[in-house]
């Protein structure tokens, strides 16, 4: 469980996060949604420790990040898996080397054990024939799957995904969403996904945090988002006719 209490973050005197508090639950896909510029990415990067909030606390199962010693912070980071928006695979490494990288860095496993684990996670993300390819030689969807495999290879407790299905075709996007949800449940991970894709919300959103202008404007479950009369949420989520109709159909049921 990740508990966020009243975090604030500014850049160049402009407050981006204005005191956000929430709880991201274990074993669930927690989604952060909101318009561009609402503070989603800053929120995610603050959770990851890439940005340091000016006030407030972030605790990982009771461990308050800002109070940890540098070594403890690095140890905590080994419990984190991250899927970046652009995949962030290392260009100079093959798919197998990318996936095995966290194991090579942080475990004492020998090469055959690492290879075994790499094979297992690549199979888990349905990539069995790309081991020796470079990231530039595979498609965007495959790169995302490699990034997911790398993020889960050392059994993380926390998985963060920044717009995991951006730039993907609808079929691949749904595959990636479902893969993240399955992995979250299978390994009982606290997963936080930053997205503005409403398909993801409908498909895998178990807990949804809606940010607007750096503030928590709403939070709830996928079911609750259909029934909410929060104007900001309704304006954002049901901006397309398709989702309006989905909502109407859901409410009729």
């Amino acid at each position: 469980m990740i508990e966020v209490k009243n975090i604030e973050k500014s850049f160049g005197g402009i407050k981006i996060l204005k005191g956000v508090s929430t709880v991201f639950e274990t074993g669930k896909t927690n989604l952060i949604i909101g318009q561009s510029g609402s503070g989603k990415t800053v929120m995610l990067k603050s959770l990851l420790g890439i940005h340091t909030p000016e006030s407030g606390t972030i605790s990982f199962d009771g461990r308050i990040y800002s109070e940890l010693a540098p070594d403890e912070k690095r140890d905590l980071r080994t419990e984190i898996g991250m899927v970046f928006q652009g995949s962030a695979l290392f260009d100079s490494m093959t798919v197998a080397e990318n996936v095995g990288f966290p194991l090579k860095m942080f475990t004492k496993d020998n090469n055959s054990k690492i290879q075994e684990r790499v094979d297992f996670v690549l199979k888990r993300v349905n990539l069995t024939d790309a081991h020796k390819k470079l990231p530039s030689e595979i498609s965007g969807g495959m790169q995302k799957r490699v990034a997911i495999a790398r993020a889960i290879v050392n059994n993380p407790k926390y998985l963060f995904c920044d717009e995991p299905n951006s730039g993907l075709d609808p079929n691949t996007a749904i595959l990636i969403d479902n893969l993240i949800k399955e992995i979250t449940e299978e390994y009982n991970i606290t997963t936080v996904i930053n997205t503005h894709d409403m398909n993801s919300v409908m498909e895998i959103g178990e807990k949804i945090l809606f940010l607007k202008d750096g503030l928590k404007a709403w939070e709830g479950t996928k079911e609750e988002i259909f029934r909410t009369d929060n104007e900001a949420v309704v304006a954002f989520v049901y901006s397309s006719n398709l989702f309006k109709k989905v909502r109407e159909a859901y409410l009729k049921e």
Partner: protein, 249 residues
């Protein structure tokens, strides 16, 4: 305001140097990174260094010969002047300035691209000390840089000898006599000492500009240019200071 910015950058550079040596990457991983950097930075530079050194050595010999118009000045001065120019300045300093362009822009653009594509963030999120992982192997690889300069010295003098002898400016014996004349072994120590310092500058200044860059592809190009300018300026400045300290007093 500009002065404060420069001082801030210098402070940031020294903090970066400190961070490079914090929390070392596992040796089994680091060893491979060092070999890769030796291949990219040292082996990959040999061709251009050899080419430039050989021909510039030749030009130095020809220029010296063409300026010795007084028949009382002995021809062995061609060998002497070539040796002194190549060993004292051309090989250590000017090859380093050229390497600031070749190696430096490679280092800045490769690290800068990693920054833009969030690969450095990925390292940090995993708990890797990204500065140690990216810059430390470059520093170790560049400890071999004096070998590159040694090759440059040899080829520079060889180029001078070939241009002098085969161009008909001097005889082989005269050139070799001149090249051995008044040889001061400390000049070699001086040349390699400054080469080692330039190697550290070549590894760290371009890394600094790549690591702390912000923006996209355009900024990567801009950072490479800025890195070349600052590495060259620093090399030339250090060259002056070291020459004054080691030879001037």
């Amino acid at each position: 305001m500009m002065l404060i910015r420069y001082i801030t950058q210098i402070g940031r550079y020294f903090l970066m140097l400190k961070e490079i040596f914090n929390k070392q990457t596992k040796w089994s991983v680091m060893r491979n990174l060092i070999f890769k950097e030796i291949d990219d930075l040292i082996i990959g530079s040999l061709g251009i260094v050899a080419f430039i050194s050989f021909f510039v050595g030749g030009v130095v010999a020809i220029q010296t010969a063409l300026n010795l118009t007084n028949p009382l000045i002995p021809k062995y001065l061609i060998g002497f002047a070539t040796r002194q120019s190549v060993i004292l300045e051309f090989a250590p300093t000017f090859i380093s300035v050229i390497m600031a362009g070749k190696m430096g822009s490679f280092i800045t653009s490769s690290i800068g691209t990693m920054r833009v594509t969030e690969q450095i963030d990925a390292l940090e999120v995993m708990g890797v000390n990204s500065l140690n992982y990216l810059v430390f192997p470059k520093i170790i690889a560049l400890l071999l840089y004096p070998f590159v300069i040694g090759i440059s010295m040899f080829l520079g003098v060889l180029g001078g000898w070939m241009a002098g002898v085969y161009g008909g400016f001097t005889s082989s014996d005269e050139f070799i006599n001149g090249a051995q004349l008044d040889f001061i072994p400390f000049h070699i120590v001086y040349a390699f000492l400054k080469t080692l310092i330039f190697a550290m500058l070549l590894a760290t200044i371009p890394s600094f500009h790549g690591y702390y860059m912000k923006g996209g592809a355009l900024e990567v190009g801009r950072a490479s240019t800025v890195s070349f300018v600052w590495t060259s300026v620093t090399i030339i400045t250090f060259n002056y200071i070291l020459t004054q300290l080691l030879l001037g007093s």
